[in-house]
C-alpha cells in the first residue's frame, strides 16, 4: 500500500519538475522546489531533498540536462533545463494526468439518486 503511494508521488513530482522547467527555463534545485511549493499554494509539503532523486532520474532518461553555473547571489549551483525529449514527454504526461484527474473528479462527484 505504502509502496504504490510512493510510486504515485514519484511520478507526480517528476511531472511537476518537468512543467516547472518548461515554464521557467533553467533553474537550480532549490528554485524548482520553491516554485512547486509556491504554485501549489504551499499545499504540497515537499521534502525538498527528494527533488534531487527526481532530477537525477529525469537526467538519466534524457528529459532534462544539467550544467554548473552561478546563482543570482553568486553561488555555485547546478542548473537544470528541459530537453526536447523532455518537452515531448511532458506533453504526453500532462494529457494523461488531466484525463485521469477529470475522470477522478467525475467519479467522485457521482451522487446516488436516493440522496
Amino acid at each position: 500500500m505504502s509502496d504504490s503511494k510512493l510510486d504515485l508521488l514519484q511520478g507526480t513530482l517528476d511531472l511537476m519538475v518537468l512543467q516547472t522547467l518548461a515554464t521557467m527555463g533553467a533553474q537550480h534545485g532549490y528554485g524548482i522546489a520553491r516554485r512547486i511549493e509556491q504554485v501549489s499554494g504551499e499545499q504540497v509539503l515537499l521534502n525538498q531533498g527528494t527533488i534531487y532523486a527526481s532530477l537525477v532520474r529525469l537526467q538519466e532518461r534524457g528529459w532534462i540536462s544539467a550544467e554548473w553555473g552561478t546563482s543570482d547571489n553568486n553561488r555555485k549551483a547546478k542548473f537544470y533545463s528541459i530537453t526536447k525529449k523532455g518537452r515531448k514527454q511532458l506533453a504526453e504526461d500532462a494529457v494523461y494526468w488531466q484525463r485521469l484527474s477529470s475522470v477522478m473528479g467525475r467519479v467522485l462527484a457521482m451522487q446516488g439518486d436516493d440522496k
Binding site: 532523486a53 527526481s54 537525477v56 538519466e60 553561488r75 547546478k78
Partner: protein, 226 residues
Amino acid sequence: MNWLRQLLQRLRSSFSDAQTDRELDTEMAAHLELAIEENMKRGLAAEEARRQALVRFGGVEQATQQHREARGFQAFDILWLDLRYTFRTMRRDPAFTLIAVLILTLGIGANIAVFSVVNTLLLRPLPFRDPQQLVWITGIPGRGGLSSQTYSTDAYKALLSQQRSFQDVTGYFAFSTSDNTRLMGRGEPLLLSGILVNENFFQTLGIQPILGRLFRPEECQKKRRQ
C-alpha cells in the same frame, strides 16, 4: 536503445560514485544556503533560518540515499562492497577460509562424483539395441553375497525354456574382474577384460562384431570344440 543508455549510465555512475556524491553534496549545500538566505530575508534569526531550511529539506542523508537509488548506485556497488568485505574477512581469518574452501571442494567433488555415476548408470542409455527392453534378472540379495544373486546353469536352462515374457534370455559368468586377460603378440602385451558368456549373448544385446564372426551353434555344445 533506451535501456542500453540507462544501463551504460548506471555502470558509469557506479564507477564515478564518489565524484557524483561530492557534486550532490555541493549541490545540497548550495540549496541549504539559498534557503537560509531566503529565510533570513523574511526576518528570521540565523539559527532559526538554518533550522527551518533543514526541516524543509527533510534530511540530507535520506536525500543522498534516494539520489543513489535513483541513479542505480545500489546493485553494482553493494555487490562490489560485499565482495571486498568477503575478501577482507577471508584474509583476516585464514582458518575459517581454509575450512570453507575445504567444505566447498569436498561438496563440489562429491557432487561431480555422484553425478558421473548417476549419469552413466541412470541417465545415459545403455549402448545396446533397444536398451529399454533389456532386463537384468537377479536373485534376492541374501547372506551368500553375490553367489546368492546368481543362477546355476540348470536354473538358467529352466528359465530359458519356461519363460514367456522375453524374446531371449542370456547369461554370463559373473565371477570375474576387469583386466583379467593379456593380449600377447608383437610389442607390448595389452590388458583386456575377458568374460565367459552364453552363445546367444551378443544376439540378445544386438551386437555385431566389427571383425570376424559370432559363435556358431556347434561351438557352444559341450565337448565339441575348445
